[in-house]
Amino acid sequence: MAHSVRRDAPELPDFSLLKRLARDQLIYLLEQLPGRKDLFIEADLMSPLDRIANVTTLKQHDVDKLYKVEHKPIVSTSDQLCFLIRPRIKTVKWICDVVNADKAFGRFRRYKIIFSPQKFYACENLLEEQGIFGDVTTDEWSFYLLPLDDDIISLELPEFFRDYFLEGDQRWVRTAGSALHLLHSVYGPFSKVYGIGRCSKMAYESWREQVEEGEQRARQAEIGNVFLIDRDVDLVTPLCSQVVYEGLVDDIFRIKCGCVEFCPDVTSSDKSIKVMLNSQDKVFNEIRNEHFSQVFGFLSQKARNLQTAYDKRSGMDIKQMKTFVSEELKGLKQEHRLLSLHIGASESMMKKKTKQDFQELLKTEHSLLEGFEIRECISYIEEHINRQSYGIEHLLTFSNLKQLGLLVEQQPGETLTVMESRVGKLVNDKTAGKLTDAFSSLAKKSNFRALGRRLNLVPKSDEEYDLRVPRDMAYIFSGAYIPLSCKLIEQVLERDGWTGLEEVTRMLNGHEFAVTAGSNGSDARVKTDSQRIILVMFLGGCTFSEISALRFLGREKGLKFIVVTTAITNSARLLESMLDNHA
C-alpha cells in the first residue's frame, strides 16, 4: 500500500526454473515405463503436481487414466501401473496389497513406484518383505522445491514438523539438506550461512557434505546469504491469531498450495470458486501484507477508482469508445472481478470473526504475550473451553502457552490441571495418548518473558500504534508483538553473526552458527546485490504473518527475503499435527 520502497532493493531470482527442472525429471521418469499406463497420485501430491504440469503433459507421455491414491482396491484395467507417492509406509503397504491381489488373481502387470522427493529404506524393505521387490521398480522424483510465489518456496512436507519435533525421526534432515543443495547449485554459491536450532545445524551439515561430494561450477551468485531456523526456536508466533490479510485468509479459509477455495458465502453466488493467491493477483498483492483494519479502506478506495474509470465512457465518441474497449476494459473487468472477490472475502471474515468474539480473543492473546492480567486470561480461556465455542485446538494452545512459559506467573494452576484432566482428555476422547507428553517434548524452559525483554518483542502498550504507518514488524500483530523468529533474523543480519546475543541463544537452547561459506571474487556490484538477497529456511513450517513481517523488514532495510519452508503453517495446523487421533 503506501509503503515507501527503497529503490535499491535487488531483483528476486527467477524460481520458475525449479518448476521446469521438476517437470522435465517427471517426464523422464514416466518414460522409464514405456507404453500406456495408469497413474495413481498421492492425494497431497496433486496440488503440487498441478502447479508444474497439467493433465495434457501427462497424457502426452502415455498416461492413460489418473487416479487419486485412496487406499482402496483399484479398478484399473491397464497392464502398467505407475504410482506417484510420498515415501510413506501406509501408501507402500497399499501398493503391496494391490500387487499381491493381482498375483493371487493370476494377473500380470508392470508396476513402478516414483517416490517424491526421495525413497526411504523402510519403504523398500516393505516391498521386500511383501515379496514384491523386483516385481515393482522404484524411482525417485527429486521434486524438493515448489515455488508458491515470487518469494515463497515450499517443500510441501507438513509431516516434517511431526516427524522431527514430536517423533524424533530425522528422516527429512537430509531432504532439507538436498533442497538447500539444489538452491545452492542453481542460485548460489552462498557466501554466508547463519542458523539456529539442532535440525538447522544438521541440515546445514548435510548440505555441506553434498557440496563436497559434487562439483561446484563457478557462477555468479544470485542469493548471497542463508538463514536456517528450527520451528521450535519460536513456537509462540505460529500460535498467535493472524490479523494480516493473507494470514487471516489462511486461518479462516485455509490456503492450500497457494490456492484458496472461497465458499458461496464469499462469492455471493451458489458455487464456491478456487482462486490462486499470489503476486499475480494485483488486488491481493496490495493487501496481503496489510493489517486487516487497513484493508477495508483500501478496497473501497479501489472500488471508487474503478467506478471513475468505468464512468469515463459516458463522454466518449465512437473512436474513443473503441480504444477503451480494446485497451482498458479487459483490465478493468479483471480488476473488478478480483476486487469483488476480496471484498466478499473480507466481509465474510468480518462476520465470522465478530461471531466468535475475535476482539476479546486478541485482547487475551496480547495480554498473555505481555504477561499482564494472566488470571483474567485464564478465566476467559477456561470459559470458552467450557462453552466449547473453542475447539480442541485452542485448549491445546492454552496448555502449550503454559509449557512455553507464558503462563508461569500464575501460581501452579489448579485451574489448569482440573481443566486439562476434565476437558482436555474427555472433550475429545479420540485424543488418545498423552498430549502433555507431546508438549513437553516441545517445551523450552520458561524463557519467553526474559527473551521478550531482551529483544524488545512486546512494545509498551501505553503508546498508540498507528497501523497505517507501521514502524516495526509488530504491526503484523496489531503492534502488540514482534515475532521472535523474525526479530532473531533481523538481529543476526544486523550484527553479521550472533555476537552480543549470547544470552538469547542460551535461552533458546543454543545450536546457533554463522559460517562464511567462502565466496568467489565476482564483480562488486553483483556481489552486493546477491548479498542483499537472503534466503530464510524454516524447518518445521512458517506462517504467512512471518512472511509479511520479513517483507516489511526487507522494505525497511533494502533487502529481499526469500522464504523456504517445509510447509506453510498456522496455529490450527500446528496443533492438528500434534493430535494423534487417526487409528
Binding site: 523422464y28 526421495q118 523402510a122 517423533e167 530425522q170 548435510s206 466449547q388 476437558v423
Partner: protein, 445 residues
C-alpha cells in the same frame, strides 16, 4: 535406479580392480557385443548390484550401448559410467564370485553409511559381531540421516534377538526414537509393547495398548476393550481418564438404546419436536451433558441419563455445568429453566440471582440463542458494572434498563440524549418524557 549402482570411482580407484582397469584400455564396445552371451551367463552375479534389470534387458537388445544415454536429462551424465555393461564385459577377468563378495563387504561402518546416504550399493551382512553392528548404528546416528538410521535398525531387528536389541537401545536415545517410530508406522504393536515393557516404560505401554481402542468400531466391543484397559498400569491421571472414558461409553450405550426406542415409538414430544441428529455414542462428555440437558432435563438424580447424575459421576465443575445447561435450555427457549438456574434462596427465604460466571457472559449466551428482549433485560440488569450494563443494554436494545439506569444515576443529560435515539411516540419515548417531567427527581445535571 541410477543411485542403485556402485560408485564408479570406487571401482576404478580400488586396488583390487587394478587388473580390471588395465584391461579396460584394450577393450571397447565392439568386443562387448561379441561376449554378450558370456556376460548373460554371469547376470546372476551382477543382479545383486542392479535393481533395474528391466532397463538392462532393453539395453541389451543388440544396439550400441552408448545409444541409451540419449534419453537422459540431467541425470544422464552418470549413465554412461553407470551402465552395468561397462564393467561386466569380460567374465574371464572377473574375480571369482566369493572374492567379489568379500570386496563388497569390505567397507567400514563410516563408508557403508556414506554409501547408504548416497543411495549406492551397500551390504550389511558383514556386520555380524554385536560390536560391529553397534558401530554401524552409532555411525548412522552420527550422520544425522534418519533414513539410514532406520535402515540399520531394520537390519538389527532381523539379525539380533529382541532382548539384545532392546538392551542396546536403552542407552541410544536417538536410535530408540527412530525404532519406536518405525514400529508405530509398520504397526508392530506387540513388539512395541514388549519394548516399552523391557524398558520399564509401563505407562507408555499402557497408553499404547489403550490407543488401540481407536481400531474398535463396534460400541459394545469397544466398551469391553476399555474395561479390559482399566487394569493397565496407567499413571494416576490417565487411570482416572480411562475409567471416565469407560463409564461414559457404558452410559452412552444405555442412553442410546433407550432413546432410540423412545424416539421410534413416538412416545415423547421432545423427540418429535427436535429429532435427534446423530447418535450420542462416542461423543465427548460435554456433548453428552448437553444432550442430557436437552432431552432428559428434570429426570431424577437416580437415572443414568439425568444431568445431575452425569454431573456427579464425571465431577463436572459448577461453571461448566451451568454453561452447558444454559446453552441447552436456552436453545429450547425454556426461559423458566434458565431463570431457575440462577435463583438461590437464602435462609430467610429471599430469592436472589447468583452466577459463578459474570452476568455479562450470560447475556451474551442468551442473546446468541435468540432470547427475547424481555428475558435479556432481566440479566442485563444483573450486570454489576454500570458502564458495562449500559453498553450491553444499548447493544441489545433493552430500553428499560438504559432509562432506569440513567434515572437512578440522576443523569438528565444522558436521558435527553437517549430520548433522541428512540422512536418518537414509542412507549420508551413516553417513559423518558414521563421521567423528565417528574419534578420529584433531583437531577445531578
Amino acid at each position: 535406479m541410477i543411485r542403485g549402482k556402485p560408485d564408479e570411482d570406487d571401482y576404478w580407484n580400488s586396488s583390487k580392480f587394478k587388473a580390471f582397469t588395465f584391461d579396460d584400455e584394450d577393450d571397447d564396445f565392439t568386443r562387448l557385443k561379441e561376449s554378450k552371451r558370456a556376460v548373460n551367463s554371469i547376470r546372476s552375479l551382477v543382479e545383486e548390484e542392479d535393481e533395474e534389470d528391466d532397463v538392462e534387458k532393453v539395453s541389451w537388445s543388440g544396439e550400441p550401448v552408448g545409444r541409451k544415454a540419449k534419453t537422459g536429462s540431467f541425470q544422464s551424465f552418470s549413465e554412461s559410467f553407470g551402465d552395468p555393461s561397462i564393467r561386466n564385459y569380460a567374465p574371464e577377468l572377473r574375480k571369482p564370485k566369493s572374492e567379489y563378495k568379500d570386496y563388497v563387504s569390505d567397507w567400514t561402518p563410516e563408508e557403508t553409511v556414506k554409501r547408504m546416504q548416497q543411495g549406492k550399493v551397500y551390504s550389511l551382512e558383514k556386520f555380524r559381531s554385536l560390536q560391529d553392528k553397534l558401530l554401524l548404528l552409532d555411525e548412522a546416528v552420527n550422520a544425522h540421516d534418519g533414513n539410514v538410521i532406520t535402515a540399520v535398525l531394520i537390519y538389527l531387528k532381523k539379525s539380533l534377538s529382541k532382548e539384545i536389541l532392546f538392551r542396546e537401545l536403552i542407552t541410544r536415545e536417538i536410535a530408540l526414537r527412530h525404532y519406536i517410530h518405525y514400529l508405530k508406522e509398520i504397526g508392530e504393536q506387540k513388539l512395541l509393547v514388549e519394548l516399552f515393557k523391557s524398558m520399564d516404560r509401563t505407562e507408555d505401554m499402557a497408553l499404547m495398548q489403550y490407543r488401540d481402542h481407536l481400531n474398535v468400531r463396534d460400541e459394545n466391543k469397544k466398551r469391553d476393550f476399555l474395561k479390559n484397559c482399566l487394569s493397565f498400569p496407567f499413571s494416576p491421571d490417565d487411570a482416572t481418564h480411562v475409567q471416565d472414558h469407560y463409564t461414559l461409553l457404558e452410559r452412552q450405550i444405555i442412553i442410546e438404546a433407550n432413546d432410540k426406542q423412545v424416539e421410534s415409538s413416538g412416545q415423547a414430544d421432545i423427540f418429535k419436536k427436535y429429532p435427534r441428529k446423530a447418535s450420542i455414542l462416542n461423543m465427548p462428555i460435554i456433548t453428552t451433558l448437553y444432550y442430557s440437558c436437552f432431552y432428559h432435563y428434570g429426570e431424577s438424580d437416580g437415572t443414568f441419563s439425568s444431568p445431575a447424575n452425569i454431573r456427579k459421576t464425571f465431577r463436572i465443575s459448577d461453571k461448566q455445568f451451568l454453561l452447558t445447561c444454559l446453552g441447552a435450555r436456552a436453545k429450547l427457549k425454556a426461559w423458566f429453566d434458565v431463570d431457575a438456574l440462577f435463583t438461590t434462596k437464602n435462609w430467610l427465604g429471599y430469592t436472589k440471582k447468583r452466577s459463578p460466571i459474570g452476568f455479562h457472559r450470560i447475556v451474551d449466551i442468551l442473546q446468541k440463542n435468540n432470547a427475547p428482549v424481555q428475558v435479556l433485560q432481566d440479566y442485563v440488569n444483573l450486570v454489576e458494572d454500570v458502564e458495562q450494563k449500559i453498553s450491553l443494554a444499548q447493544k441489545y436494545k433493552c430500553h428499560d434498563v438504559i432509562i432506569n439506569t440513567y434515572r437512578d444515576l440522576k443523569d438528565r443529560q444522558q436521558l435527553i440524549v437517549y430520548r433522541g435515539k428512540v422512536e418518537r411516540g414509542s412507549s420508551e419515548y413516553r417513559k423518558i418524557e414521563e421521567i423528565l417531567s417528574n419534578s420529584q427527581l433531583r437531577w445531578k445535571n
